[in-house]
C-alpha cells in the first residue's frame, strides 16, 4: 500500500465517522472536531456501541465493542482502524453504504396522528 492510499483511507474512515456521529446526535457535521472526545458531543455508551456495529457493517470486520472507549476521538479511532485492519477491500470496493441513511421516522403533528395510532393498536 502506498502512503497516499493509506492517507485517503484514513480520511474516508474519518469522514464516515463524522457523518455517523452527526447523524446519531443530530449535529451539523461541520461542528465536529476530530480531536475532541466523542463524549464531548454527548455520545453515550449505547450509541457508542451501536456505532461500532454500524462500522462493522460498513467495513465488514469484527471490532471490539469497547472501540470508542479505548480510542475516544475520531482521530484516534480512525488511526487505530487504519493501522490494525486492512480497510482497502471495504473502502475501495466503493460501498455506497458510507453515507448514513436518513433518520427514521419523521415526527408527525401530534394530535391527528394519535387517533390513527389508537385505531391501529386496537385494530390488531
Amino acid at each position: 500500500m502506498t502512503v497516499t492510499q493509506s492517507n485517503s483511507q484514513l480520511e474516508t474512515v474519518q469522514n464516515w465517522l463524522i457523518n455517523k456521529l452527526a447523524e446519531q446526535l443530530s449535529l451539523e457535521s461541520e461542528t465536529i472536531n476530530i480531536i475532541e472526545p466523542l463524549t464531548r458531543y454527548g455520545l453515550d455508551s449505547i450509541d457508542a456501541v451501536t456505532m461500532v456495529g454500524d462500522l462493522e457493517d460498513w467495513l465488514d470486520l469484527e471490532l471490539p465493542s469497547t472501540l470508542f472507549w479505548d480510542y475516544p476521538t475520531i482521530e484516534k479511532s480512525s488511526q487505530y482502524l487504519a493501522e490494525n485492519f486492512d480497510l482497502s477491500g471495504a473502502i475501495n470496493g466503493d460501498k455506497t453504504d458510507s453515507k448514513p441513511a436518513a433518520k427514521t421516522p419523521e415526527p408527525v403533528a401530534a394530535g391527528k396522528e394519535k387517533t390513527g395510532l389508537f385505531g391501529r393498536l386496537m385494530g390488531r
Binding site: 472526545p37 463524549t39 454527548g42 453515550d44 469484527e62 394519535k114 389508537f118 393498536l121
Partner: protein, 605 residues
Amino acid sequence: MLAPIQVNTLIDLLQLRAETQPHQHAYTFLIDGKKESAPLTYADLQRQAKAIAATLQESQVKGERALLLYPQGLEVVAAFCACLYAGVIAIPVPPPESGRLKRTLPRLRAIVKDAQASLVLTNGSILELVANVEAEFPEFAQMRWIDTEKIDLNLAEKWQNPQISQDTLAYLQYTSGSTATPKGVMLTHHNLIHHCRYLQRAGGYNEKSVTLTWMPYFHDYGLVEGIMVPLYNGHPCYLMSPFAFIKRPLQWLINITKYGISHSQAPNFAYDLCVRKIKDKQISDLDLSHWEAAGNAAEPINPRVMLEFADKFAPTGFQWTTFAPAYGLAEYTLLVSNKPKGTKPVFCAVKSASLEQDHVVIAAPDQEEGVKIIPSCGQLVCETEVAIVHPDTLTRCTDSEVGEVWVKDQSVAQGYWQRAEETDKTFRAYLKDTGEGPFLRTGDLGFLRENELYINGRIKDLIIVRGSNHYPQDLEWSVQNLDPALRSDYGAAFSVEIDEEERLVIVQEIERKAENLDTEKLIADIRQEIAEEHELQVYAIVLAKPGTILKTASGKIQRRAIQANFLAGKIDAHDDWCENIKQSLKYKNLEQQVENLEQQVKTGV
C-alpha cells in the same frame, strides 16, 4: 402446564435439579452473541457452586456480603449460586470496564461501603483491571478477592450445607438510590422462589419453554426472569452479553430463530433499536413465530414502537400477541403485572386534559386531539394486591383517579439494607382511613381499569432512560463539580417526554459573580460529563440566572415546578442549548423578536 416446585431455598432447588435432571442443559452462553459455549448442566452448575462455596467457607462467611463482578456469562451464574450455597449474601453489580472506570468505580465503592461487603467474586481480567487503580480505592484492598476461574472443582466435596432457611437473605439488589446514598433491596430465598412460582404461572411457561436473555445479571429483569426463572422451571436458558445485542440487534433475533426461543424480554429501547437498525433484507431468514412472550418492561412503553416492531417483523411470523408489556420493580422482586400469554396487548385512550388533573376520562373513539394513549402493563401477577392511593392523603383513589401504586404480597422485599427509616417509609405503608397494610409504595403513578394496570408518570424523582435508573441528585452534583461558575445546590435534572421517549434536561444556575463566562464551553463540558459519568445523552441544557431553581421551605429542590417552567419557556437564561435547535429558548426568543418586528412593520405601514 408446569407444576410449582415445593422447595424452601435455592440450595434445595438447585439440588433437586442436579439430582433429578443432572445432565440436562441448564445454561449456554453465546460468545460475542454467536458462538456457543460448552453447555452447563445442572450437575455442572451445582459442582461449580459447591466448589466456590467451599472456597468461601475457608473463612467464616455466613451472612457476609459478596460483590459479583463478571462479564455476562456462565461464571456469574455459578458465582451467584455459590454465594447462596455458602449462606453469603450476593450483590450483583455492574463490573468495572476499561475506559468506563469513571462511571463504574465510584458507584461500586459506595455500594461496598453501604453493604460493608467483605468479599468479591470475579475473574482474572477484572482483577487485573482493578489492581491498576487499587491505590485510589483503599476499601478494595481490605476485601477478599476470589478469582473463581482458578478454583479446583474437587473442592466441591468439602462444601458444608450452611443450614439456612427460607427467610435467609439471598441477595441485595442495588438498582435503587443515588450514588451518594445507594439503597440495597434485601431479597430472601423465599422472595425469589415465591416470585419465580408466580412468573411460571403469569408468564405462561411450560415444558417446552426456552429462554434467551441479554439483560445483564445485575439488572433485576435479567437476574430474576432471565436467569432464575429457567432454573426454577428447569428449562434451558441462553445468555448473551448486552453489548452483543446493542452492537448487532439482529443477533438477538437470529438467536431467537436458531434456538426456538419462547421467552425473551427487553426494555422498550431494544425494540426501537431493532426497528431502526435491522435492514429489511436481513429479515428474510428470521423465524419469530415460536416466540410466545416478548417481555417489555423496565422503562415506559411506547405503543408506537410496538406497532413499528410488529409491522417490520410481521414477515418473520412475529405475532402481535407475543408482546408482553409488564411493570415491576426490584422492591417487589420483579413483576407486579404482566400481560397474559396469547392475549392482545391492551391500550386506553384518555383525555390529556383530565390526566393533568389526575383524572381518567376515556376519550371518545373518534376524538382526534388532546388524547393520550396509555399502554396497559398487563394484569396483576397471580395473587398480587394493588391499591391506588392519593400520595398526600394516603387514602384510596376512586376508579377514575390516578394515584400512587401500592403493592402487597410475599414478593415484597424485606426493605433497604441498614436503612430503617427509608424501609419504614417505603415498605410499611398503611392506608390512613382503613388501616390496611403493610403496602410497598412504588413511587409510580397509575390506575387500574378493567383488571389492567396502567402506569402514567411517577412521584419519585427518578429518570429512567433505556432501562437504567438515574437519580437527579447524582446528575446535578456532577454538573456542579465542573466549574465554580455553576452554583452548588442550584441545579435541577429532570426528564421530559419527547416523541414519547423520556429525555434528560439540565437546568443549572450560574453564580451571580461569575465573570468571563464561556457558556458554549460550559454546555459542552456538561454534555461530556453526563455522557462519561452517567452514560446519558442530554436533550437540553439551560444555564440560568439566579432565582430559577425553586426550593421548598426546607430547601428541597422543586424539580417538578422547574420542569413546568422549562416546558413553558419561562426561564431567564444566560444561554441554552437543545438537541432540537427549534426547541431552544434562544431560538424561541429569536422567533418572538421576529414576530414583534413583523408586527411593527405591519402597523407601521
